[in-house]
């Protein structure tokens, strides 16, 4: 199991320790502002030393994040945030590494690095701003844009099935997946903190409203009329209840997650699932990740947080053990190892 070696701060920190002096250049009303706020709030709670936070991003509106927070940061190139972050973390395991990326950056051009980072379980945190559109380039469809949507590059509607980020995370054997709404700053703050504590690649999908090019993409979830029915907030150890006054519950029956009305039927009530985010078996987490209205509510909160060895830990272990066992302690040893001969 990986040991977190991010050093702790000697003094208590506050939000202000992370507020940057740079002008935030996102559009007024962009979901990014709330995310920034949540992160600024969560970071003091982690207890980590402020110099040990490092942000990495690709290109996109979301990828401007590193400029807006007072930490170390590198604004990379499009799609490569996770690859860069992998290097940052492996090389310097004492850092708490955060990736901010978009649905284009990590699901389109950066899809490969995304799944490989997850597969390796490198101990970084990925804040995936999923606004279902390419924001910075002004409104082309992305791999998460719903099929049929009209965008600047799909004047007749897209013909592509979108990715569900949860599907890719689970399909790559991910150990941590959470989903939050940009409008729920409280939950975002909690989830960001939980993510920071997870050993391994933590993916936080943030449904982020792009007010300019995909406004109201998530209003089907957040509208007054649907809110209660279409959202379930998962909490580890608690029953999966939702709806007005928690009147509904989720059970597993016939290999499908199904909704029951609470109190209608004792047998059903007993079957209501208790959320176990630490379950190593991804079976139910996967189903929770896929749930989608109108049949089922969309799941929010930490869906999966399983414990597996991290790549960076295993690498350090291999190096440690090689150092212990190998006779080659320095480069002079290396150069003189094997077959050599002396000329006098």
């Amino acid at each position: 199991m990986s040991i977190k070696r991010v050093p702790l701060s000697e003094v208590p920190l506050t939000k202000e320790d992370f507020v940057s002096d740079q002008i935030v250049k996102w559009c007024p009303g962009c979901g990014g502002h709330a995310i920034l706020k949540a992160v600024e709030k969560a970071f003091p709670e982690t207890g980590f030393r402020k110099e040990n936070f490092t942000f990495v991003s690709g290109i996109g509106c979301s990828s401007r994040f590193p400029y807006y927070i007072n930490t170390y940061g590198i604004h990379g190139i499009h799609g490569r945030a996770n690859a860069i972050a992998s290097g940052v973390k492996i090389a310097n395991t004492g850092l708490s590494v955060w990736v901010t990326t978009g649905d284009g950056d990590s699901m389109a051009i950066g899809g490969n690095h995304f799944i490989h980072t997850i597969r390796r379980n490198i101990d970084i945190n990925i804040l995936l701003f999923n606004n279902q559109i390419y924001g910075l380039t002004k409104g082309q469809y992305s791999p998460t844009t719903p099929k049929g949507e009209v965008t600047r590059t799909s004047p007749h509607g897209t013909i592509e099935h979108p990715f569900n980020p949860a599907g890719l995370v689970m399909g790559s054997m991910g150990t941590f997946f959470a989903r939050v709404l940009d409008s729920n700053v409280r939950m975002m703050t909690e989830v960001v903190e939980e993510s920071s504590k997870h050993d391994g690649t933590a993916v936080v999908e943030i449904l982020q409203n792009c007010i300019i090019f995909a406004d109201k993409a998530f209003s089907y979830l957040t509208d007054k009329e649907h809110k209660d029915e279409y959202q379930i907030n998962l909490k580890h150890g608690e029953p999966m209840l939702f709806g007005k006054d928690n009147s509904k519950g989720i059970i597993l029956k016939e290999n499908r997650l199904q909704i029951v009305k609470v109190g209608e039927n004792k047998e059903d009530d007993d079957m209501i699932l208790i959320h176990d985010q630490y379950n190593p078996d991804p079976g139910i987490h996967r189903m929770l990740g896929y749930m989608r209205p109108p049949e089922m509510p969309r799941a929010f909160g930490v869906i999966r947080a399983a414990k597996f060895d991290t790549y960076d830990y295993l690498m350090e272990e291999q190096i440690r053990s090689a150092k212990e066992t190998s006779g080659i302690k320095c480069v002079n040893d290396l150069l003189n190892s094997g077959e050599t001969f002396e000329v006098n």
Binding site: P66, G76, I77, R80, I84, I90, H113, I319, L334, G338
Partner: protein, 615 residues
């Protein structure tokens, strides 16, 4: 040990082992070379194998070869034509006959010259029987039979037994060169330690070959290549790829930075990655990435977070790294990109060597995007140029492209082992904690390098990235004047490296009729050709470049003193284009070869003579 008392002393000799790709020619050649090296010969080797892993038996395209030149004199290349060819089957004989010197010795496994094999190789008649080899000394040995017989009492499959026939060939050749077969045994023991049956079978077949040659007085005369007169010191045989890895490891140690390698396998650069992976005890972090882009991007991340970051690749992978090199340039982070060039374009001829990525190294990125470009010219000096690449990259805070070639990476030569303590110091400009003066793009007034502020350091939180940024402060901006300034600063920073590299030198007179210019792996053949012409009294000199961008400051001075300049390259003329740009005041002649093969001395001499004669 020799039964036959007739021993001819030779200054140098070229031996080539050829056979099917499964015949173990690479191992045979390596053992031969190591044995000669341990004895004290200077040497250079070149393995030449097909892209197929185990190509069908007895086909021309399936031939795998290993050439070595050993000498009591300084050996600069693996040689043009061979004194001895060891051919394990008809196809390998057919493919290599043109490389055998007239009157050279050809040792063949006569057992392998059956009808089927002859047919597959395309021979219409058995060349051993139709007098077509009359210009050579052909030694027919029943190599397969010897192998089988010597192993008959070991519980080995027939297949395993025939697999040892290469050791019989090695035994014969070892006898021919009066090598100390005992040290060959030791190499075998080390290589296969733990696998007793393999050690034993190899030992037996090796001895059997040796004895067979001795008992049968196979050769009119054997050869003896005396020890080379090498400078004092400890030596070893090393390939360019291994030397490259070692040079980087040495630079990490001397700079006090951890080494991070982000790489993806690709022929012929993979061995660098493999070599790093072997030495975890030195603390190197080796990340085998999902592709070349992740390889370089992870390295950029590692560089940002304070490591000496390296990425290794060959042509197609180098193309994929184009965009990310730009990021390293604009973020002004140290990064070493090693390109072990191979024959292109596209996938091209992956196992063949070429020098055709030079212009890509200089210009293969969007925007004005300068990097330092240097190159190695021999397997052993890959160590020094790798070290130099790391040093320049860290001290000047800029990416460095190190160009080597398949020919250098796979080839080997003797390497005088340095003491790491005696290598030049490396002083990366690391920012100090809480430095009140720190600004992300504040520069050293002399080198123009910015400071390296490593995440985790107190008081230095800052952000960098791929957008143009204000000089000094480092915040993104599209200010027009600043962009022009930054573009020039990035170029100038690389240009100023000319103040930190050695002067270009000339082999021969400082002036004359012809100056032969080269770079990279061609040093050896050019050197030999030029020396031979000089010995003939011709006014020819050589200058060989290792620093490509920037060029050494005295380049123009050197050029000025020659009537003619010829640039020789294994490409269609790339360095010459660079010279036309940088030194347009001179005229350049060209000699180019684009065959996936090194120069041979006689073709160079012919060309130089032709030019000298033209008035």
């Amino acid at each position: 040990m020799s039964k036959n008392n007739n021993v001819t002393e030779k200054e140098s000799a070229v031996i080539k082992f050829v056979g099917d790709s499964g015949d173990g020619m690479q191992l045979t050649g390596t053992l031969f070379s190591d044995t000669a090296a341990l004895f004290g010969n200077d040497l250079a080797t070149f393995p030449d194998y097909p892209a197929e892993i185990r190509a069908p038996h007895n086909t021309i395209f399936g031939v795998s070869g290993f050439q070595v030149q050993i000498g009591s004199i300084k050996i600069n290349s693996s040689g043009d034509f061979c004194d001895v060819l060891v051919a394990m089957n008809p196809a390998s004989l057919k493919a290599n006959l043109k490389w055998v010197k007239k009157n050279g010795i050809i040792i063949v496994d006569v057992d392998a010259f059956d009808k089927k094999a002859l047919d597959k190789s395309g021979y219409e008649e058995n060349p051993l029987e139709n007098n077509s080899l009359k210009d050579y000394k052909v030694v027919e040995a029943p190599i397969s039979t010897i192998a089988k017989e010597s192993l008959s009492d070991l519980s080995l499959s027939a297949k395993a037994a025939t697999r040892s026939k290469n050791m019989v060939a090695l035994g014969i050749t070892g006898y021919l060169f009066n090598l100390d077969i005992n040290s060959t045994y030791k190499f075998i023991e080390n290589k296969f330690s733990g696998k007793d049956i393999i050690v034993e079978s190899n030992r037996r077949t090796l001895a059997a070959g040796y004895e067979f040659a001795r008992e049968n007085e196979l050769f009119e005369t054997t050869f003896f290549v005396p020890k080379a007169d090498l400078p004092k010191g400890r030596y070893r045989n090393v390939t360019g790829n291994v030397a490259t890895a070692w040079g980087c490891l040495a630079a990490a140690e001397r700079s006090g930075r951890e080494l991070f390698l982000g790489s993806y396998p690709i022929t012929p650069a993979t061995e660098i990655l493999i070599e790093f992976a072997l030495h975890k005890s030195l603390g190197a972090k080796v990340f085998q990435a999902e592709d070349e882009i992740a390889g370089i991007c992870s390295a950029i991340g590692a560089s940002y977070s304070g490591s000496l970051a390296v990425t290794t690749t060959s042509g197609p992978g180098f193309s994929l790294k184009s965009e990310a090199i730009g990021l390293a340039v604009i973020t002004e982070l140290p990064l070493v990109i090693v390109n072990v060039q191979r024959a292109g374009p596209s996938t091209g001829m992956p196992t063949k060597s070429e020098q055709s990525d030079l212009l890509q190294a200089l210009y293969g990125r969007n925007g004005e995007c300068p990097v330092i470009v240097i190159s190695a010219s021999s397997p052993a000096n890959c160590f020094y140029y790798a070290y130099e690449a790391c040093k320049l990259s860290m001290e000047h805070m800029t990416p460095v492209v190190l160009l080597t070639e398949g020919y250098l990476g796979n080839g080997s030569e003797l390497f005088r082992i340095p003491d790491v303590e005696n290598l030049p110091d490396i002083n990366p400009p690391i920012a100090k904690p809480n430095d009140p003066e720190y600004k992300p793009y504040a520069r050293d007034p002399v080198t123009l390098a910015r400071k390296w502020a490593i995440p985790g350091t107190e008081g230095l939180r800052h952000r960098i990235g791929g957008l143009e940024k204000f000089n000094i402060e480092g915040n993104p901006t599209t200010d027009p004047i600043n962009h022009e300034l930054m573009t020039k600063l990035r170029e100038d920073k690389v240009k100023r490296v000319e103040n930190y590299i050695p002067d270009q030198t000339v082999t021969g007179e400082d002036s004359g009729d012809l100056l032969v210019v080269g770079w990279g792996s061609t040093y050896g053949p050019i050197h030999t050709a030029v020396k031979e012409l000089q010995n003939e009294g011709k006014k020819v000199s050589q200058t060989h470049f290792h620093y490509i961008k920037p060029l050494p400051k005295n380049t123009g001075e050197i050029f000025r003193n020659f009537k003619k300049i010829i640039v020789c390259e294994l490409n269609a003329g790339q360095f010459v284009k660079h010279l036309k740009i940088e030194h347009p005041e001179y005229k350049y002649l060209q000699y180019n070869k684009i065959q996936g093969l090194p120069f041979v001395v006689h073709e160079l001499k012919e060309k130089f003579n032709e030019i000298l004669e033209e008035k």
